[in-house]
């Protein structure tokens, strides 16, 4: 178990640093194990430095930088051990438009291996999707599902049905 953990850790660490540099277009990030001695008990420590900034504690990162750092780690884990499907629930909410575009590009890179289901309020993320589901609550308290074409997005968001499923 110990050998497996350290092997996985080394792989994820390499991917994390690569993916972080793509999502942040530079900078550097690394993973290390807190020096508890026994790798099976140690904590995983993240260090991250956005481009041009000094290395500081990750608690000083901004809301958007924190979200992008966490997403870098998640993508690194998926790369190390692809999970058949992934569900993201509004993880793009703290990101500005430029970072949403980088996030979406990364999704496209992973879509060969992994199927993504993404809940989002952000139009840029919706536009990248291969298929869309609209959830409406036309009748208060009762949820229904409608198939949606990119053109109908405004209707669904205003709780007007498009076509019965």
């Amino acid at each position: 178990a110990r050998k497996q953990f350290t092997e996985t850790f080394a792989i994820v660490r390499r991917y994390f640093s690569e993916i972080f540099q793509v999502l942040f277009e530079g900078g550097e990030a690394d993973l290390s194990l807190s020096d508890d001695g026994d790798p099976l008990e140690a904590d995983v420590v993240i260090t991250a430095r956005p481009k041009g900034k000094r290395l500081q504690d990750i608690s000083l990162l901004s809301g958007g930088e924190r979200a992008l750092t966490a997403l870098s780690l998640l993508f690194a884990l998926y790369k190390a051990k692809p999970s058949p499907f992934c569900i993201f629930d509004e993880v793009d909410a703290p990101l500005d438009d430029a970072n949403i575009m980088r996030f979406v590009k990364m999704l496209k890179k992973f879509q060969e291996e992994t199927q993504f289901v993404i809940i989002t309020h952000n139009k840029r993320t919706m536009e990248v999707a291969d298929s869309l589901f609209g959830i409406t609550m036309e009748e208060k308290g009762v949820s229904r599902v409608v198939s949606v074409d990119v053109r109908d997005i405004e209707d669904v968001l205003a709780n007007k049905r498009t076509a019965p499923q």
């Binding site: 953990f5 780690l73 884990l77 992934c86 993880v91 959830i135 409406t136 205003a158």
Partner: protein
């Protein structure tokens, strides 16, 4: 393996049965606040064996059964069917498609099925064990997860690494 179908019957705000047919690639789910999007994420966590009502934002497991609206009475049970395709033989069964089912009545007792034959929760957990898609896995990500990954107050990070090993 990929997610091919999800059916919700009487689960949370989904009073009448709904079906979501998934395709490969990226699927976006959209809709106004409170329409039932995160309830779909809860349905996936639940059918994969989630045991904590709190993780599903409730206080007791019956909170997942449609609780009625001002116009409709509460229902007596909730069912979720999840169908995954097994074309690549990820699962040790000879089927090309596998459907797992979870049912709960107001009494609180859950029943589990694999391809319509009754089984135990343990069988479902074992089925998904090595695929990285358990109910607590890094495959189902809500927005608060971003904070967990960065704060790491209870060793969530280590847990993700162990899942990937």
């Amino acid at each position: 393996m990929s997610l091919s179908k999800l059916e919700l019957i009487g689960f949370k705000s989904f009073m009448s049965p709904v079906t979501l047919d998934f395709r490969e690639g990226i699927t976006a789910i959209l809709g106004p606040n409170g329409c039932g999007k995160t309830n779909i994420v809860d349905a996936v966590r639940w059918v994969l064996g989630e045991q904590s009502a709190r993780q599903l934002r409730g206080t007791k497991m019956e909170n997942v059964i449609f609780n009625g609206t001002q116009m409709h009475k509460p229902l007596g049970c909730a069912v979720v069917n999840m169908t995954v395709d097994n074309a690549r033989g990820v699962f040790p069964l000879d089927y090309s498609e596998i459907t797992i089912t979870r049912k709960v009545y107001r009494s609180g007792i859950s029943e589990y099925f694999i391809n319509k034959s009754p089984c135990r929760l343990k069988d479902i957990k074992e089925l998904f064990a090595d695929t990285g898609t358990g109910s607590h896995s890094y495959a189902v990500i809500e927005q608060e997860m971003i904070e967990y990954v960065l704060n790491d107050a209870h060793g969530e990070r280590r847990h993700m690494f162990e899942e990937a090993s």
